[in-house]
């Protein structure tokens, strides 16, 4: 928790310091750069540099107290939007919130235009180099590049040689790691070909900082970033091999465990791309398709964020579980455009960077504008740390996009600042913080926005039109885990209330069949007899509820729920996402040991986000394919749970019939309904009716089956082409069986006290539900089995 709140959280309380300094403590008033280092904001004599004067004055006018307050808000926005940088790829724990600094780095117009010219030249040069490396290789012949630079370079992709990429360009996105040298001139530390890597964070930084400092942002004439991204969208349309109104561009992501997954989600949303993983794509003949619930849809452009050696297992070997087999065939055939073209990273090699002055003269006939050598000491800029402005070294990543005439540079950057003198120190520093970068305009700025309404009519779309099968699969499981967590929670809560209640209306020795259900739902190995000892039951409940080591515990179900949610993070709105993160937080915040009475309070607190999650799904999610699958998961799980619960409890009458009826109705959240309906003592037939046959009770089996049938009808036309899918027949059969059942017949006992009628129906349902789940996944989630590589014949 502590690292999530951070310093800003504490500062929000407004330390005595702020009060002592009077009503407005100046933000940059005490800022002193380190002696001997160049500073972006203050000159050697301590005076503000001209382009910082105005901003420093305005920041000072905001004041320390106000800045801290606003920044606390901004931090909350970062957390709640789930802006993260996943450090070790663990969905739990190590997913760090994005660290952002409120004070932007400011670059004046003339300074920037010099950098811009240099970046454009460098992008042109890199494209020319790529044209040679993947074409005639004259640079090798002329000795301007050594054989090792190309042939001993893992980024040289032979399969990318000898054909013109779709769209004709050799480079679509270029980025450079930039720092100012000791002489004040810009230097390139590294060339980056991974497309738009970090640009999404730059955009998010802008949104957060411009909201926190709206008056500064408005009045300082800062260049907008939207135009750059609009040109990226133009580029996609231009390089698409298919010129149509429905060009489909996908971002090919390594998946939610990738460190920059958040950024990929963000860029996809912002640029209107379909976020895909390799399992979502397939190659048929020589074209790439997206596997959706409605069949295969052609893909025209791929923004590749997957490592190139993993793109195509057929071409590059390696594991067949990652990548899209046959992708390179489609690329070679010109049926799909890759941005960047495969193999662009070859020019990132140090040797190429060092040879660039000569290469620039040879290929462009120009002198290289931006030198490649690394400065020994980085310049600093003010950063807001611990409620004070201190000097931190800064490095920028600057982006360019291909335009018909050449390249355009994003007027902004992803700036990272931190402790350290060298770029390597900053960039490897775990405590680096990102900064927004403000490029000042000479004249008025255009407030072009990507979401500005266009005048062209847009075809209306309803529902989840192109839902990838993988996403439907994950939503289905998200629904199942959410329901499973709720079922487990209600069962533990019931037993805790038994332990807490002084009254002996519900005695543990009368609850053996419900304890059997408990064993089953938690995969608990304790015997029923031992669970009937209150002290032992309490200990077991604790570990079954909060324990992380026991596989079947509620905590672990919540962990599965979190993972399922993680896999469809791009489909959940921030509120929904927050309810899920709250769940684990509530469970983990529980002190240990805990008296049984207090546990009830904790469990009630956990129930709130679970119910909020269901509520948000019902109230905020459009009734598209995604919603149908999510709710199907919930219904299947709830029906399965009910079948299991009733089979283990009411399937056979015990000596404690009343306790059995009451406790099960209570666990099944239907006791109040029963009492309000029947003012008599509890009886089996009406209770069975309520939990099995009553289609108006949202907790009954019949209710789940009706809902399942409804969902199945809604999704059916999208899947199997036969008249009625197997999964449809299974639901219909199960529902008919329940509808035809007579509650009194179900309740009837044989000589040995068993209820053969009830058991028979429940057994049939117990077989039908898993069969339904399997049939559903065969019909819709067929990607489940990935491709296999042929056994290598060898020699």
């Amino acid at each position: 928790m502590s690292n999530r709140t951070g310093y800003y959280g504490h500062m929000a309380m407004d330390g005595p310091e702020a009060a002592l300094q009077g009503p407005i403590a100046r933000v940059l008033g005490g800022y002193r750069p380190q002696a001997g280092l160049i500073d972006e904001a203050r000159a050697e004599d301590g005076a503000w540099r001209p382009h910082w004067r105005d901003i420093a004055a305005r920041l000072d006018a905001v004041g320390v107290r106000e800045l801290n307050q606003r920044w606390t808000q901004a931090q909350r926005m970062i957390r709640e939007n789930g802006i993260t940088y996943n450090v070790y790829g663990d969905p739990r724990g190590l997913d760090r919130p994005w660290e952002l600094d409120p004070i932007p780095l400011v670059i004046p117009a003339d300074d920037w235009s010099h950098l811009e010219r240099g970046i454009i030249q460098r992008a042109r040069l890199v494209e020319a180099m790529l044209g040679d490396v993947y074409g005639p290789q004259k640079l090798l012949e002329e000795g301007l590049a050594s054989p090792a630079a190309v042939f001993n370079n893992p980024d040289f992709v032979r399969a990318g040689h000898g054909f013109a990429p779709a769209g004709g360009r050799r480079l679509h996105f270029y980025a450079a790691e930039i720092a100012r040298g000791e002489d004040g001139r810009w230097r390139v530390l590294a060339d980056k070909m991974h497309p738009l890597s970090g640009a999404g964070y730059a955009l998010e930084n802008r949104i957060v900082v411009s909201r926190a400092l709206p008056e500064l942002y408005r009045e300082c004439r800062v260049h907008r970033l939207a135009g750059f991204f609009a040109r990226a969208k133009d580029l996609f349309l231009r390089i698409s091999p298919r010129q149509a109104s429905d060009v489909r561009v996908v971002l090919l992501s390594p998946g939610p465990y990738d460190r920059s997954y958040f950024e990929q989600v963000y860029l996809s949303h912002y640029l209107g791309l379909t976020l895909t993983e390799s399992a979502d794509l397939t190659v048929r003949e020589d074209a790439v398709y997206l596997k959706t619930l409605k069949g295969l849809y052609p893909v025209d452009v791929i923004l590749g964020r997957l490592a190139e050696q993993q793109l195509d297992p057929l071409e590059f070997g390696g594991e067949s579980s990652v990548g899209v087999p046959g992708l390179m065939r489609a690329v070679r055939a010109g049926r799909v455009a890759m941005a960047n073209p495969v193999g662009a990273a070859v020019v990132e090699a140090r040797e190429f960077r060092e040879a660039m002055p000569a290469l620039c003269r040879r290929l462009l006939g120009e002198e290289l504008l931006l030198a490649g050598q690394e400065p020994k000491m980085l310049p600093t800029a003010p950063a807001w740390i611990d409620g004070a402005a201190v000097a931190r070294a800064v490095v920028m990543r600057v982006y360019a996009v291909a335009t018909p005439g050449g390249f355009d540079v994003m007027p902004g950057a992803l700036t990272r600042g931190g402790l350290g003198r060298t770029p390597a120190e900053i960039l490897s520093n775990r405590d680096q913080r990102s900064k927004d970068t403000w490029v000042l305009a000479d004249g008025p700025v255009s407030d072009f926005s990507l979401i500005r309404p266009s005048t062209a009519p847009v075809p209306l779309i309803r529902g989840g039109y192109y839902l990838p099968s993988r996403v439907a699969d994950n939503l289905f499981w998200l629904g199942r885990y959410a329901e499973r967590a709720e079922g487990q929670l209600r069962l533990t809560r019931f037993f805790y209330s038994c332990l807490a209640e002084e009254s002996d209306t519900l005695r543990l020795h009368e609850l053996s069949s419900l304890l059997g259900t408990f064993q089953n739902f938690f995969d608990c190995k304790e015997t029923i007899a031992s669970l009937q000892v209150p002290e032992h039951l309490e200990r077991t409940l604790l570990s079954m509820t909060f324990g992380k080591t026991h596989e079947g515990s509620l905590r672990n179900t919540v962990a599965w729920l979190e993972q399922a949610a993680w896999r469809v993070r791009d489909r959940l709105n921030p509120d929904t996402w927050r309810t899920i993160t709250n769940l684990g937080t509530e469970l983990d915040a529980t002190p240990n040991p805990l008296p049984a009475g207090n546990v009830l309070t904790v469990l009630d607190r956990v129930l709130v986000p679970l119910e909020a999650f269901s509520g948000l799904i019902q109230e905020s999610m459009t009734r598209g394919q995604g919603w149908h699958f999510l709710d199907l998961g919930r219904r299947v799980e709830r029906a399965t749970y009910k079948v299991e619960l009733l089979r283990r409890t009411w399937g056979r009458a015990t000596r404690h019939e009343l306790t059995d009826l009451e406790s099960v109705l209570s666990v099944a959240v239907s006791l109040m309904t029963y009492r309000s309906r029947y003012q008599t003592a509890l009886q089996a037939a009406p209770a069975i009716d309520l939990l099995v046959c009553d289609e108006t009770n949202p907790r009954s089996i019949a209710f789940q089956l009706v809902a399942m049938q409804h969902h199945v009808e809604a999704v059916a036309d999208a899947g199997a082409k036969v008249v009625r899918g197997e999964y449809e027949r299974i639901v219909l059969d199960a529902l008919t069986r329940v509808r035809l059942a007579d509650p009194h017949a179900l309740a009837r006992m044989d000589d040995s006290g068993g209820r053969p009628g009830l058991v028979d129906v429940l057994d049939k349902l117990g077989e039908a539900l898993p069969a339904f789940s399997d049939a559903l996944s065969r019909a819709f989630f067929a990607h489940g089995h990935g491709p296999t590589s042929l056994m290598d014949p060898g020699m």
Binding site: P147, F151, P313, P787, D792, P793
Partner: protein
């Protein structure tokens, strides 16, 4: 001499495979001493599409795609090859160190082309241990061809041909430690040794005639596709050597493809959906045309 080659690769699946995408490198390439005068590739079941291309190394590749559900997948290539005797290894006195130096800064197109094969690849990496081992025959100043022949003989002498010792992906250092392997391992090892010395060597896939001419022994590897190596001798010559049979790969050798190592020239590569487990069977038949079969 004219040869007819028939090479069948057959996979049998446990369950039906639905889709299958494949690359075949089975068509023998033309060289200065051999010419492919007839070629046919039969695929069963019939691919819904296929296309031909030439890869980075100049090998012929057939890409094809199968959409018919199938439980047996068979690829048969038939080639008619005109083979002339390649020139014998040149009487070259260039010391190997000088050859390595010339490859570091290539001065002609051939040397530049050859320079890419001086770098380690996944199956034939550069290793200090292999360099030391190879230096025991690559004595200082020794002529490069003579050194390579000595290395070939040493591998043949010290390694046992053993089909059960290694699999298709056994790392070369494991085969080296075991002193066992098959033609693929010996070729990888020899290439790795030459590269560790800074020399340029490539992996060659191809065939040997199935039945030797009368009076000569049957060679190892004649019943399957075979592999050997080619070492670059500056300024412009490639010399093919077969460490499995300890002889220059001249007569009776038919070249199919070459690359950095096996992975660049795998005769058949594929990815399929479904299918379950699968079993593989390969048969190769290489006969001179117009000679009596006996």
């Amino acid at each position: 001499m004219l040869y007819r080659i028939r090479h069948t690769t057959e996979y049998r699946y446990g369950d039906a495979a639905s889709l299958s995408q494949n690359q075949a490198r089975l068509r023998p390439r033309d060289t200065s001493w051999q010419k492919c005068v007839g070629y046919e590739l039969q695929v069963d079941p019939r691919p819904s599409s296929r296309s031909e291309r030439v890869d980075y190394f100049g090998n012929h590749v057939t890409d094809f795609f199968i959409q018919t559900p199938h439980s047996v997948f068979a690829v048969t290539s038939e080639a008619l090859i005109e083979v002339n005797s390649p020139p014998p290894p040149p009487q070259c006195t260039t010391p190997w160190e000088q050859a390595a130096a010339e490859l570091r800064s290539p001065r002609n197109r051939d040397a530049l082309e050859a320079s890419q094969y001086t770098f380690g690849s996944s199956a034939a990496p550069e290793r200090g241990e292999l360099r030391d081992w190879a230096m025991e025959v690559f004595l200082p100043g020794r002529a490069i061809v003579e050194g390579a022949m000595a290395l070939m003989s040493r591998i043949h002498r010290e390694f046992k041909y053993d089909k059960s010792a290694t699999a298709v992906n056994t790392p070369v250092m494991e085969a080296f430690a075991m002193r066992r392997g098959v033609c693929q391992d010996f070729a990888h090892l020899m290439i790795a040794c030459l590269r560790s010395l800074g020399l340029s060597a490539r992996y060659v896939s191809g065939y040997l005639r199935t039945r030797p001419p009368p009076g000569t022994p049957r060679l190892v590897g004649a019943d399957a596709s075979h592999a050997w190596i080619s070492v670059f001798v500056p300024p412009e010559t490639w010399v093919d050597l077969d460490p499995t049979n300890n002889q220059p790969a001249v007569e009776s050798y038919i070249t199919t493809a070459w690359g950095r190592d096996y992975h660049d020239v795998a005769p058949l590569r594929g990815v399929f959906l479904g299918g379950g487990s699968h079993a593989l069977r390969v048969s190769v038949d290489v006969e001179p045309v117009g000679e009596p079969a006996f």
